[in-house]
């Protein structure tokens, strides 16, 4: 008889820190196990990123489904959860979208306690720097819808914005795009992406979920009845009656192996980080008209992102002209940043749906679930995991996500968020 030894998760606390200090920090238990791969599970989740790990966690916690394997081709939390700018916000446009993101922001705020893992959550407000009238009209329209669902958006004057962000010295009356005003989203914040991945992994593991790294899923396997039967991997066939595809940019690469056609395109989005400097900006700054956004990390680095690369791309690096365009835009509003040295740069590939809203559904292959089209999916991880676990466990969409199924394309009933993200 095979016995599964489930580790008792050691609680992280000041007490455990002190106790482990006495033994020179040599006796900390591993945060998660590395068990041998079985050939069958109830549920296989492809992708140990934010959405995959959160889904596994909520499957175990909320629905008691613990015979779950999370398969990851690289290392845990090394995909897009490590390749974003950790911005958590709920300023969307549509009635269908906002309640979902409001829920996700609220879940993030309680995640440190829920997972007993310090998320270093910093609810620091986002300020949009508005430089064109069409953008202002669009943001006011968002504000009216956001008011309904308890998200926050407030217009402030340019003077007030410059007071709050002293480094914002560009965009004056002589500029090509003079600043018109600011919009303030007080619910926005940042946290630590590694903690999100590791916290979910550790908590899911403690409930019996298995996390397997460095296993490449090559194709999806369908049974004789057409339903999903498992996955073909670099370590052999793994059978499961339910398979979840949570792989971001490679969604179509995998779903094509089951004969599906999904309305997704894969694109490359990049970010980069400056050297650490003294505290200078204490809010998230978003400049949609100029095409960049940034926040200052707790370490002091400026974490900077821009517009996506044009065209489809499965690359994880940054194109020189995308980088130069972003820096040029940033220096037009923050000229003092010219002295900053840039330290690191990276890219991620993510898929965007036809209407720029996410897709979460059981596909026409019974038992095969996809979560995809997460443009800025970092903010959606807690609620995305919870609602996907609900869908997998019950076979019905969670009420917060029932507008985001594939049926909306069949009925041409889009949830049009194009234009409210950096997507062009």
């Amino acid at each position: 008889m095979m016995v599964n030894i489930i580790t008792i998760m050691q609680k992280y606390s000041a007490f455990s820190l002190a106790r482990n200090a006495l033994s020179g920090h040599r006796n900390w238990p591993l945060a998660w196990r590395s068990p041998p791969l079985k050939d069958r599970y109830d549920v296989v989740v492809i992708g140990a990123g934010g959405h995959g790990l959160a889904t596994a966690y909520y499957l175990a916690k909320e629905f008691g489904i613990t015979d779950v394997a999370v398969l990851e081709r690289g290392w845990l939390g090394g995909g897009n959860i490590a390749r974003n700018t950790v911005t958590i916000r709920s300023n969307y446009m549509r009635d269908e979208s906002i309640p979902f993101y409001v829920k996700s922001v609220a879940m993030y705020e309680g995640l440190t306690r829920e997972l007993n893992f310090n998320m270093m959550h910093s609810k620091r407000t986002m300020v949009d720097v508005v430089q064109t009238w069409p953008k202002l009209r669009e943001l006011r329209r968002r504000q009216l819808v956001m008011d309904i669902y308890g998200s926050t958006y407030e217009q402030i004057t340019t003077e007030e914005m410059r007071r709050r962000i002293p480094a914002l010295t560009g965009g004056g009356p002589e500029a090509r795009l003079p600043i018109i005003c600011g919009m303030v989203h007080t619910d926005a914040g940042v946290n630590r992406h590694d903690a999100v991945a590791w916290g979910y992994a550790r908590a899911a593991d403690a409930m019996g979920v298995e996390i397997h790294q460095q296993i490449v899923v090559q194709s999806l396997v369908r049974g004789a009845d057409g339903a999903i039967d498992g996955v073909e991997t670099s370590r052999g066939t793994v059978r499961a009656g339910k398979v979840v595809v949570a792989v971001s940019g490679h969604t179509t690469t995998l779903t094509e192996t089951a004969g599906l056609r999904l309305p997704l395109r894969t694109m490359n989005l990049t970010a980069f980080v400056s050297e650490p400097v003294q505290p200078l900006v204490d809010v998230i700054v978003n400049c949609p008209d100029s095409g960049f956004y940034f926040s200052q990390s707790d370490k002091g680095e400026m974490v900077i992102g821009g517009a996506p690369d044009m065209g489809q791309s499965f690359r994880r690096d940054i194109k020189q002209h995308v980088f130069e365009d972003t820096v040029t835009a940033m220096l037009s509003l923050f000229p003092s940043f010219k002295k900053l040295k840039l330290m690191r740069q990276w890219g991620g590939h993510l898929d965007i749906a036809h209407d720029a809203s996410p897709i979460m559904d059981q596909t026409e292959v019974p038992g095969l679930f996809v979560t995809a089209g997460w443009w800025g999916g970092y903010k959606a991880i807690p609620a995305g995991g919870l609602t996907l676990a609900h869908l997998v466990a019950k076979g019905e969409p969670h009420p917060l996500m029932d507008s985001f199924t594939l049926d909306r394309f069949r009925h041409l009933d889009f949830v049009m968020e194009a234009g409210t993200t950096t997507a062009r």
Partner: protein, 85 residues
């Protein structure tokens, strides 16, 4: 940075161009196809891990539209318009 082969101007920097999207199927007569085929035409674009056929507009140059095959893994232009190396 991509150097995109324009049939009129030769290889020019990507920053002079606007991306026109992947080339899909021709627009069918909506009354002649099934609902599923119509929705597929409207919403599903080719998304290959490899060469994709796509349109580019030389907007900050001569204004020409052109079509290339570009590899989505490497950015290599694997097929250029006729006559352009």
């Amino acid at each position: 940075m991509l150097l995109i082969p324009c049939p009129l101007c030769g290889k020019r920097s990507e920053s002079e161009f606007i991306h026109g999207g992947p080339v899909g199927a021709d627009r069918p007569d909506p009354n002649a196809v099934s609902d599923a085929e119509w929705v597929d035409y409207l919403t599903v674009a080719p998304n290959p891990l490899g060469p994709v056929q796509e349109k580019w507009w030389h907007a900050r140059g001569c204004g020409e539209w052109l079509t290339i095959w570009r590899d989505t893994r490497t950015h290599d232009i694997v097929e250029a318009p006729d006559g352009i190396k």
